[in-house]
């Protein structure tokens, strides 16, 4: 039962983040790139003021998989780094925390682009 609840929360919270994104697409003139930027900044702010942490506890992947989770990760990384290294941590914390995602995206981006050929759109 516990495991069912856990997945349900991941589904509901993650789904809601996406539904908010869809509302922005349908009812505003925001382009997808702007929506992504907004989600990441929102994640940094929500993570910074401590609202996001409980959501991660509750929903797990539902909160970490959406791009707000990426923002939360940046904020969390910076906080730990500042505690450890002071002002230098403000600069290094974000990239350190995001390194897995960024590294993977850049490297897989390169490999996939090298291997595959663009398909026709009809």
């Amino acid at each position: 039962m516990e495991i069912f609840k856990e997945y349900m929360w991941a589904f509901v919270v993650g789904g809601l983040f996406c539904a908010v994104g869809q509302v922005l697409i349908d009812y505003t003139k925001l382009t997808p790139a702007r929506i992504l930027v907004a989600f990441v900044i929102a994640g940094v702010i929500l993570g910074g003021i401590g609202v996001y942490e409980p959501l991660v506890e509750l929903a797990g992947g539902g909160a970490t998989v959406p791009l707000t989770g990426f923002g939360y990760l940046l904020a969390k990384g910076v906080k730990e780094a500042v505690a450890e290294k002071g002002l230098l941590g403000a600069i290094t914390g974000g990239f350190t925390a995001a390194s897995a995602g960024l590294g993977a995206a850049v490297f897989f981006g390169l490999i996939i682009a090298l291997i595959f050929k663009q398909k026709d759109k009809v």
């Binding site: 697409i25 003139k29 997808p32 663009q118 398909k119 026709d120 759109k121 009809v122």
Partner: protein, 339 residues
Amino acid sequence: MSQKIGRSTLLLNSYPSVKAFAAIVGKKEGEGPLARHFDVIFDDTTLGEETWEKAESRMQREAVIKALEKAKSASTEIDFIFAGDLLNQCISSHYGLRDLNIPFYGLYGACSTMAEGLSLASIFVDNGLAKHAMAVTSSHFCSAERQFRLPLEYGGQRPPTSQWTATAAGAAMVAESAGPPYVKATCAGTITDLGIKDINNMGAAMAPAAAHTIKTYLYDSHTAPQDYDLIITGDLGMIGSDLLIDLLKREGIDISKVHNDCGKLLYDLEAQDVHAGGSGAGCSASVLCSYLLTRIQEGALQNVLFVATGALMSTTSFQQGETIPGIAHLVHLTYQKGN
């Protein structure tokens, strides 16, 4: 000799003929309702080339060669060719036609290029400046999409107002008066901008230009919509067409009974998932150079106003938040000389 009447109309008194025409299209267009009218349908829209740009150039070249073949003419018989396309610096025309050795005038009229080129070719022939002149244009979904919008593999949703850029090219060869279809008159477009900014609603951005040109021509030529079998606009799509009819109604002109749009004809709007219809320079060009000119040649259509519309923004002006200016050039095509 051409004669100017009114603000922007030229009467071509010698009635130049559209001697030959050809339309080359891609797979999706070849699955549409006009399929049987096209000269060549490429199921592989790369045309076996490495890039989309090369594919588009090839299409434009093939359209010219096919039209020459149908006219039983050699490229050396063409005095001038008027060509343009949507890509930056009109590379589809420049690269597609570079080996043909035909004196070349490059045009940029966005999706209105076919009407602009056909106007100029006809004017040259009418005034004895050319025996044979040609107009050609093209567009390719993939090359246009990557220049104007987002990468092809990017997972975005197209809003319902968006139009589908046709993968198509059309070429028309104008010669001294010989037989239908004849070019009776042309009307130059005026840049018209009613403040639309939405790049996904091009029909709405261009409808005012079409309304302006149609109104001007009817006024200059002292005619009314009922004098025509068909007033066909190029690529306003569903939304732009509705807006055009409304705009002209406000001016006391009712074209609703004779109006149609190339963007609505090229695809099966329901089944082919093109949202508001087709667009792109190749859309109106391929519809004109297949179905339309054939119908006029047969006499099934006697009096047609071909009004191709273009949206004159660039990616730079769009990103800088500018509105989208539109233009519409008109060509009056007839089955008979005189009235």
